[in-house]
C-alpha cells in the first residue's frame, strides 16, 4: 500500500511539473523580485490612457508641475512637438535644422541615446540584482547600466557617458535610482538634446510579480524649464536580452536605393 502511495505521489508530482506554467521567476533572487527579463507592455502609456492604480501611485510622487510626456514606447513626437515641455528658444531654433534622414549616416546610425530616451524605447531590458549593485542591461544599443547600491553621490571625476553614473536605494518596495554624468543626447528624437548637466531620478516598483512599473523624472535647466517625466510598464518574460551589435552601414543600403523620382 505504501509503495502504491509513493508511486502515485511521484506520478502526481511529475504530472504537475509537466503541466506547470514556465517559471517566469527563474532569475528572481531572494531580494526584491525585480530581477529578470522585462518587455515594454504594448499599447499607449499614461497620459495617452488613464493610469492603472499602481501607475497612479507612482505618478502621484511627481513634484507639482511635472510634465508627463506622452511619447513613451513606440510613439514619437513630430518635429517641433515637445509634449508641453518649455524647451529653451535656442534649442527650438536649432531643432529646425535637424534632418532625421541623417540617421542613415554611418557616423550617426549606431550612436546610442542616453538612458533617458533609451529606457522607453520598444526593446526589452534585463535586470540582475546583486548585493552591492544592480545591473540593468538594455537590448537597445547594448547599453549596460550599473546602479551602485553602496554609494550615495556622483564622483566629480566620473566620465560622462550614455549610461552615466547611478546610485540607488530601496525605499520600501521601490528601487530609487539617481543618475548623473550623462552625455548630451536626444530627448525626443526630434532634434532637441539634453545637456551633460541633466539629472535623472527613477523609481522601479513591482505592481505584481510579473509587472514592473518604471518612472523617470528629469531636470535640465540648460535645456528646458521645470521637470519632465515618463512612465513605462514592463511585463516579465522568460527570455534574455539579445546582443544588439549595431551595424552602421545599414544606412548605405537605404541611401543607395534605386528609382527615386
Amino acid at each position: 500500500m505504501r509503495t502504491l502511495n509513493v508511486f502515485f505521489a511521484i506520478g502526481g508530482c511529475a504530472l504537475a511539473l509537466a503541466f506547470a506554467p514556465k517559471d517566469l521567476h527563474a532569475q528572481a533572487p531572494e531580494g526584491h523580485g525585480i530581477a529578470g527579463f522585462w518587455s515594454l507592455a504594448p499599447g499607449p502609456t499614461p497620459p495617452r490612457r488613464a493610469p492603472t492604480p499602481a501607475e497612479a501611485e507612482l505618478i502621484a510622487l511627481f513634484p507639482e508641475g511635472t510634465v508627463l510626456l506622452a511619447d513613451a514606447g513606440a510613439v514619437e513626437f513630430p518635429p517641433g512637438d515637445y509634449g508641453g515641455l518649455e524647451v529653451h528658444e535656442h534649442l527650438r531654433e536649432a531643432a529646425k535644422d535637424y534632418d532625421p534622414a541623417n540617421q542613415t549616416d554611418p557616423s550617426l546610425t549606431c550612436r546610442p541615446p542616453s538612458v533617458i530616451y533609451a529606457m522607453q524605447g520598444p526593446f526589452p531590458i534585463e535586470i540582475f540584482e546583486g548585493r552591492d549593485l544592480i545591473v540593468i542591461k538594455l537590448e537597445y544599443f547594448d547599453l549596460v547600466r550599473i546602479v551602485f547600491m553602496n554609494e550615495t553621490e556622483h564622483p566629480d571625476d566620473w566620465p560622462h557617458s550614455h549610461t552615466g553614473h547611478s546610485f540607488g536605494r530601496w525605499e520600501g518596495d521601490t528601487l530609487v535610482v539617481d543618475t548623473a554624468k550623462l552625455s548630451p543626447a536626444t530627448l525626443f528624437n526630434n532634434g532637441v538634446d539634453h545637456s551633460e548637466d541633466v539629472r535623472l531620478l527613477e523609481r522601479f516598483r513591482l505592481a505584481d510579480p510579473n509587472t514592473l512599473i518604471v518612472t523617470q523624472e528629469f531636470e535640465d535647466p540648460g535645456s528646458f524649464v521645470g521637470r519632465a517625466a515618463r512612465i513605462m510598464t514592463f511585463r516579465r518574460g522568460d527570455d534574455h536580452v539579445y546582443p544588439y551589435d549595431c551595424d552602421p552601414t545599414y544606412g548605405i543600403a537605404i541611401e543607395s536605393r534605386q528609382g527615386r523620382d
Partner: protein
C-alpha cells in the same frame, strides 16, 4: 511581373502624433499609413541591427528589372517572431507587404513577408513582441 497594389490604411494611432520605431524613424522615409505589395527574387539579405535589409529584383509593369531595397524593423524584435539570417535565400521568390517610400523610390518597409507558396515568414507584427 510587378504586382503593386496600394491600400490606404488609416492607423488611427497617428492621431496624437507620429508613430515609429524609436531612433531610426519610419516616417522619415515611408508613408506609414499606406501599404503596398511587391513580388520579386531575393538578391541579398542582411540580418543586422538596427534594421535588416533585403535586396530583391522586381519586374516592373513594362517588364524592366527594378532593384528594390526592403527594410525591416529591428532583427532583435524579428528574432522573437521567428526570423533569422536564413529567412531569405538568394534566388528565392517572395512577396512583401509594407509601407511605400515617400520619394517614390524602390524602397519598402516590410510589415509582412511571404514565400512563393504563400507561407508567411515568421509571425506577423504584434503576435510576439
Amino acid at each position: 511581373m510587378v504586382r503593386l497594389s496600394k491600400l490606404l490604411i488609416v492607423l488611427g494611432l497617428l492621431a496624437g502624433g507620429g508613430t515609429a520605431s524609436a531612433h531610426h524613424s519610419a516616417p522619415v522615409f515611408y508613408k506609414v499609413d499606406e501599404r503596398i505589395t511587391i513580388e520579386g527574387t531575393v538578391k541579398e539579405f542582411r540580418f543586422t541591427n538596427p534594421h535588416a535589409i533585403l535586396k530583391l529584383e522586381v519586374e516592373g509593369e513594362g517588364g524592366e528589372k527594378q532593384e528594390w531595397t526592403a527594410e525591416t524593423t529591428s532583427p532583435s524584435v524579428l528574432r522573437r517572431r521567428g526570423w533569422s539570417q536564413s529567412s531569405f535565400k538568394p534566388g528565392e521568390k517572395v512577396k512583401l507587404e509594407g509601407m511605400p517610400s515617400i520619394d517614390g523610390s524602390f524602397l519598402i518597409r516590410i510589415t509582412r513577408a511571404f514565400r512563393e507558396d504563400g507561407t508567411e515568414i515568421g509571425l506577423p507584427p504584434g503576435t510576439n513582441n
